[in-house]
């Protein structure tokens, strides 16, 4: 695999674009972008990102592998689909954003402390453990995602809300200790393992 965007010879050459086309979900669409900037202007979060989708697509063409894959921009996508609706070239931008994030994760280049990434990992762990999301433990994890002290502070601040939720049976503290998973928990794990194996194999064969 290419060792990044430092080598001058690779600038604006198609290596990274080819890599994205081959490995990123919906990545083949990147080449169809006509750089109109409509997505950048439509993304409600775009101005909070380091790079708008338009820019990310240009960076891919410019061969900026490392910069793209280590970027936290695509992790910021909230899947609002504004861009997809508006892109005159019909690029599935939202999906490409997630595809890129996923690929960066697989490559081990994703930014470690990016909050949505951390949350996504927690969510995945929580979900796949029993086959059902445990909202209580996921919520608590989320409170403590930035460490113990900040977790306690945030928890105290939200205490009245928690109590009200408890009263209206929207919060079950018992679930912290005994959660009810779904019935075929073992099967779900098998399914997930199989899916992972298929995906890995696919990836390996593409990059053999």
């Amino acid at each position: 695999m290419s060792n990044g965007n430092t080598a001058l010879a690779e600038k604006y050459r198609n290596n990274f674009l080819q890599e994205v086309i081959a490995n990123v979900e919906e990545g083949e669409w990147v080449r169809m972008c006509m750089q109109c900037g409509v997505c950048a202007g439509s993304c409600p979060l775009g101005n909070a990102w380091a790079h708008t989708p338009q820019e990310i697509f240009m960076m891919i063409r410019a061969g900026k592998r490392e910069e793209v894959l280590t970027s936290d921009s695509m992790w910021m996508c909230t899947s609002c689909y504004n861009c997809i609706v508006r892109c005159p070239r019909k690029l599935p931008i939202t999906h490409i954003m997630h595809g890129l994030a996923h690929y960066a994760e697989r490559m081990g280049l994703a930014p470690k402390n990016q909050p949505t990434r951390k949350f996504a990992l927690e969510f995945w762990k929580n979900l796949t453990k029993t086959g059902r999301v445990n909202e209580t433990s996921l919520g608590v994890k989320l409170y403590f995602i930035d460490g113990f002290v900040s977790g306690i502070k945030k928890g105290l601040a939200a205490l009245p809300l928690g109590l009200r939720m408890f009263k209206t049976k929207r919060l079950d503290p018992m679930a912290m200790i005994s959660s009810s998973g779904c019935k075929g928990k073992g099967d779900i794990h098998k399914i997930l393992a199989k899916a992972k194996a298929i995906e890995d194999a696919k990836f390996q064969s593409k990059n053999a």
Partner: protein, 740 residues
């Protein structure tokens, strides 16, 4: 025709609400007693069958030979109110009076004044209108001369031949095909617009070879061109020096373009590295490799990466660059990138552009097809191309990422532009540089016209043709330019253009044969004639005619070439001694209308403003203002003119002398983006009227009393406003002291 033989019938329509709004019996009396129409008849619905036959009957049985109609605008019901070649005028009571005036008691009197004046004017005008007859200069040669044997010229020839007209192609080089013949393939012009396709040149040449109706003269140029539509006398000279006289009905100039000289772009590495080439040079390179393997010129290495630099020396204000976009180069680069992708999809092809322009129905599809096949597109501004080791370094500013960038490639292709082969610019002196240049622009047509050897140019050396309204109508009737000599274009557009030009040629041929105007007043039989005895040989008409229709005879009198004339009347407006006139449009036909407006005295508080309005745009806009019931001053009196260019200063002077308080002129936009139907008419009129100030001064009148405006057909709210503004100005500065 003498006054005695003249019999004017005036027909006053009461339909469309006119009857309710106007005092018809009073107006009928005025028409009879003051305007002196011989027959005056009122009718409830004149454009109906009964009304029309009422008029026809008077023509057939009562000897009526002039018709003045009070009713709707001259632009409405034209079919109903056409009676063979009998001159007809209109008093525009509907669009021009009742629809633009409020229906109130106070307004009644001024509204009636308006209507009465318009019928006075209509009767006065028709007295000075005579049946036009086809001009003598009828010639019937129907062969089309096509100058240039490229795509455009060949297409014009094939299309004209298909329509049944014989054609002669005169081509400077030794073969047909032009620049298109040098191409490997061309951009597709049919769905799915995905792949480069065959140029079609061979096919066209074969069609011409097989066509007995098309004669081809290779290695030939035009040594002299003289005459007019239907009778162009052309001397065709061959390289060997022999000449031949030929006669043609019309000419299509398809002289094409010369590729921009890339040596002017050393910063882009041209001339410094053999691997920096132009688009046209790449075509050759691809042809040499039979399209399969593309090798770079310097060392024959197979190209593995190529960058296309768009707008090389184009769309730039830099000295020596072309300021315009050549229109085809973006799609051409896509096409060429696909040559590489077709030979090997692994070749990196990067098109560096600032704005990608893919005109035409399939342009966008072709762009997408390029992307789909892996051509990449980078929005960037290239500043430098230089050799770096074994490769070329392309330095540019990435306009999306907003940073300086560089790409190293094997081959760089410059998208340079097209320079029209339009011959010398007849409207400007040669610059010092041009005078000293080794290669002076060579005349294409060698016209023996007083105004110069070639077609007038508009901008950047491209030939002038009416861009906005009549794109094929050049400024030399019977000679039509087509292809990149008219504006930058691609093959598809050039073919369309050629078809249009061929059709214009046919139009000129057919109308010349009938002694009528070719266009835009197609079929008009009137033509300008001049009274030699009065002419002072001032040459204004010969200089000002926008269409070069007037030459000089041996005695240095103007010599009109009716078949070249567009009937704009610019010569009539220009003539200081007023000896130029048309049968149905003359200094008198308008002047008498001005004189026949009833002039209330100074204390009546009824000012009078004259508006001379171009009949192509200003007058229709006024009619539309009426349709929209937009009110304007009742003090205005509007006279449509063929073109503002036909306005003779005497009309303005006469109007001021006879007590008009203000004079307005409305014509089309002038200048580079002109909309004037006669190209130069409104511009010349404005130059002329700028001299009115002297007249005003000599009469001690305020300069505000005369105004010229550029208007468009869409100005249906602005024009009434301008009129009202003028009325307000008159109120402010007071009435003219010249009312007697």
């Amino acid at each position: 025709m003498s006054e005695a033989e003249m019999k004017i019938g005036a027909y006053l329509c009461k339909g469309c609400g006119i009857g309710e709004r106007l005092d018809m019996s009073a107006i009928a009396m005025i028409t009879e007693r003051e305007a002196k129409a011989h027959i005056v008849k009122e009718h409830d619905f004149l454009c109906g069958e009964e009304g029309v036959s009422l008029i026809q009957n008077d023509i057939d049985n009562e000897g009526v030979n002039r018709v003045a109609i009070g009713g709707c605008s001259r632009r409405a019901k034209t079919e109903a109110f056409t009676f063979g070649d009998i001159p007809v005028t209109r008093a525009n009571w509907r669009e021009g009076v009742i629809w633009i005036r409020p229906d109130t008691d106070e307004a009644r009197e001024t509204t009636n004044d308006m209507a009465a004046d318009y019928i006075r004017m209509a009767v006065a005008e028709v007295k000075f209108m005579h049946k036009p007859e086809p001009n003598e200069e009828r010639a019937t040669n129907n062969r089309l001369l096509v100058v240039g044997g490229g795509i455009s010229g060949m297409t014009a020839a094939v299309e004209a031949s298909k329509a049944g007209y014989p054609v002669t192609i005169v081509e400077k080089t030794g073969a047909l095909g032009g620049i298109a013949a040098q191409l490997h393939k061309r951009v597709p012009e049919k769905s799915p617009f995905a792949e480069p396709v065959d140029t079609g040149v061979a096919e066209l040449i074969a069609a011409i070879d097989a066509d007995k109706n098309i004669e081809v003269c290779l290695n030939s140029t035009l040594a002299k061109t003289d005459g007019a539509p239907g009778r162009f006398e052309v001397t065709v000279a061959t390289e060997s020096g022999s000449t031949e006289e030929k006669t043609f009905g019309a000419i299509v100039q398809a002289s094409g373009f010369t590729p921009y000289d890339a040596n002017k772009l050393p910063e882009l590495g041209y001339g410094k590295s053999a691997d920096v080439i132009t688009q046209l040079e790449l075509e050759k390179l691809v042809n040499d490799g039979a399209g399969d393997i593309i090798k770079r010129p310097s060392d024959g290495k197979q190209v593995s990466s190529v960058a296309f630099v768009q707008c090389a020396g184009q769309r730039s204000d830099k000295e020596g660059h072309l300021p315009y976009c050549s229109g085809h180069c973006c799609t051409t680069s896509i096409k060429q990138a696909l040559y590489f992708k077709q030979s090997n999809p692994g070749i990196d092809t990067n098109i560096i552009y600032t704005d990608l322009r893919t005109p035409g129905a399939g342009g966008e599809d072709f762009y997408r097809s390029g992307q789909d096949k892996g051509v990449t597109f980078t929005k960037g501004n290239v500043s430098e191309v230089s050799s770096e080791g074994d490769s070329l370094a392309v330095k540019f500013k990435d306009l999306i990422l907003n940073e300086d960038a560089q790409e190293n490639v094997d081959l760089v292709v410059l998208a340079t532009g097209m320079v029209p082969n339009s011959g010398p610019n007849i409207d400007s002196e040669l610059t010092e540089e041009e005078k000293n240049a080794e290669e002076k622009p060579i005349s294409i047509l060698n016209l023996n016209y007083r105004q110069g050897s070639d077609m007038p140019q508009l901008k950047h050396g491209f030939n002038d043709s009416h861009f906005i309204c009549f794109p094929y109508e050049t400024r030399r009737t019977g000679i039509y330019t087509s292809g990149p000599v008219r504006r930058p274009m691609d093959i598809f557009q050039a073919k369309e253009d050629a078809t249009g030009a061929a059709l214009k040629g046919i139009q000129a041929i057919e109308n010349a044969a009938l002694g009528r105007a070719a266009h835009p007043r197609s079929g008009d039989l009137s033509f300008p004639s001049f009274q030699k005895s009065g002419c002072t040989q001032c040459k204004r008409c010969t200089v000002e005619c926008p269409f070069g229709a007037i030459d000089e005879d041996e005695q240095r009198y103007p010599q009109f070439n009716e078949a070249r004339c567009r009937r704009c009347g610019t010569c009539m407006g220009a003539c200081p001694v007023r000896v130029i006139s048309f049968k149905n449009y003359s200094v008198d036909s308008v002047g008498q209308q001005i004189k026949n407006v009833e002039m209330p005295d100074e204390f009546d508080e009824k000012p009078r403003i004259l508006l001379l309005a171009c009949e192509n745009d200003a007058y229709p806009a006024l009619d539309m203002a009426g349709m929209n019931r937009i009110e304007y001053s009742a003090f205005i009196r509007i006279i449509p003119v063929r073109c503002l260019g036909s306005v003779n200063l005497i009309w303005i002077t006469d109007a001021l002398n006879s007590g008009f308080d203000g004079v307005m002129l409305m014509g089309c936009k002038k200048g580079e983006n002109y909309q004037c139907h006669f190209v130069k008419g409104s511009e010349l009129a404005q130059i002329r009227t700028s001299k009115v100030d002297d007249t005003l001064q000599s009469l001690s009148l305020e300069p505000e009393r005369v105004e010229t405006h550029e208007v468009a057909i869409t100005d249906i709210e602005r024009i009434p406003q301008l009129i009202n503004d003028m009325a307000a100005t008159i109120e402010r500065i007071g009435m003219s002291p010249f009312k007697f």
